[in-house]
Symmetry: C2
Subunit: 258 residues, 2 copies
């Protein structure tokens, strides 16, 4: 029986101690053999960073009970997936990598800053079907209860259909509210922009330091985007590819006199 179960690797960026990865691990344990490799500290906003020029510390944990193999890693989310594939599960076929459930939205351009999504994209770069899950709520005790059935449904679809080489799904859930979720919408990445500002403060030695803060501004509305779907209380799925080539522009640039 256990040989028929899919092998599922789980990572995230909020660290192995976050509620989101605990919830995701419980859900995925219903579907397959689960192995967790997650950062030992908060790695939000780490994007697709990898650890170069420094070694990694990795150790086994018992945080997910006696039946689930789990490891905490000093590296980035992408490091965790690399270590899981090339060291812990070396030689075994991984059927699915899931990342999250992130505390906070990774819709729109946040996909580029997200450690959670980069863990999933890293798996896609290795040819493994991968899904990143995020909830549009940041609180450490966020309510993930409405995500369960959708996580199962989407993961089962991916295990059944597979995903074309290079593809990752960026799944975002609306925050829990009185309003029921309307369903799932496949959408495009909204072209929003962060408008940032830096607040200057002085330390006790009168030296300046800066806090970055900002808001996401979206003028890409009513355009089939993930932010549109979430605003209407749908679960959004954006199919993401790591080939960043702009093929339309590649054709245009052939006529540049270079």
């Amino acid at each position: 029986m256990s040989q028929e179960k899919p092998l599922i690797l789980i990572a995230n960026d909020d660290s192995i101690y976050s509620k989101g990865i605990r919830v995701l691990t419980e859900i995925m344990s219903e579907m397959g053999e689960v192995v967790v490799v997650a950062p030992d500290t908060h790695q939000s906003g780490m994007g697709h960073a990898i650890t170069l020029g420094a070694p990694l510390r990795v150790s086994q944990t018992k945080d997910f009970g006696p039946n689930i193999l789990s490891y905490k890693c000093s590296g980035t989310p992408a490091d965790c997936v690399k270590f899981g594939k090339h060291h812990i599960l070396k030689g075994r076929k991984i059927d699915l990598v899931v990342s999250g459930i992130n505390h906070g939205s990774n819709a729109s351009i946040s996909v580029l800053y997200s450690g959670t999504m980069s863990a999933a994209i890293e798996a896609a770069m290795e040819g493994i079907p991968a899904i990143g899950f995020s909830l549009c709520e940041y609180g450490s005790d966020a309510d993930f209860s409405h995500c369960h059935d959708y996580v199962i449904k989407i993961a089962q679809k991916v295990l059944a259909h597979g995903l074309p080489k290079g593809l990752t799904l960026n799944v975002n859930f609306p925050a829990k509210s009185e309003v029921p979720i309307k369903g799932i919408k496949v959408a495009k990445q909204a072209d929003a922009v962060y408008r940032e500002y830096f607040e200057e403060r002085k330390d006790p030695y009168n030296q300046p330091y800066y806090w970055m803060d900002g808001d996401l501004h979206n003028e890409d509305v009513n355009n089939g985007t993930d932010l549109d779907a979430l605003a209407e209380n749908y679960v959004s799925i954006v199919p993401i590819k790591y080939d960043m080539t702009d093929y339309a522009e590649l054709a245009v640039m052939q006529s540049w006199d270079l």
Copy 2:
């Protein structure tokens, strides 16, 4: 006269003390008013990481002489561009952001791990034309002499043509050799893969730690890729977009029963 000069912001990931940014700053000073904002430490492999939950330290330097405004920043390459745009140059129109010249290739999938490219992509996300330059040689005293004329030519083209919103150019130079550069090729991102391994060592307290190492394997050959162009001793340019949506797959997935 100075009002007619383009305003050019320069960043990188090898730090403000690297040779590559010194070379790039000298070249760009021939073309416009230059402002440098670069990391105070090595930030290779940082991808599109940004600093969340911690403040930034930024201070002015004199490393580029009395005529060039320059700052070192404790944050990531993407932070440097954000700080440059939203704080140092707040309210001014930046005509071009250039990043690099990186010590080491950022061709193929390295674009996703690269702090240098993420600095340029960050600018594109802000609507600023941006170019990342990299040399296929890692040495700290690498020879950049053959890059000069191509950097000028490509930057002048971009200043003259502009770039469509969202576009970044990923420019890679072959390492300096006896063989002359053949010209420039516009290419697609090669779909190569890193085959990684982790070497386990023990620290003096008998605890394990792991060094990640790996090689780039490319089976995407003779396919109009950046790696093809570089192998033939051309300068490669890949037009990169930060919209990671896979539109072909988006259409396919509409028929999934979700």
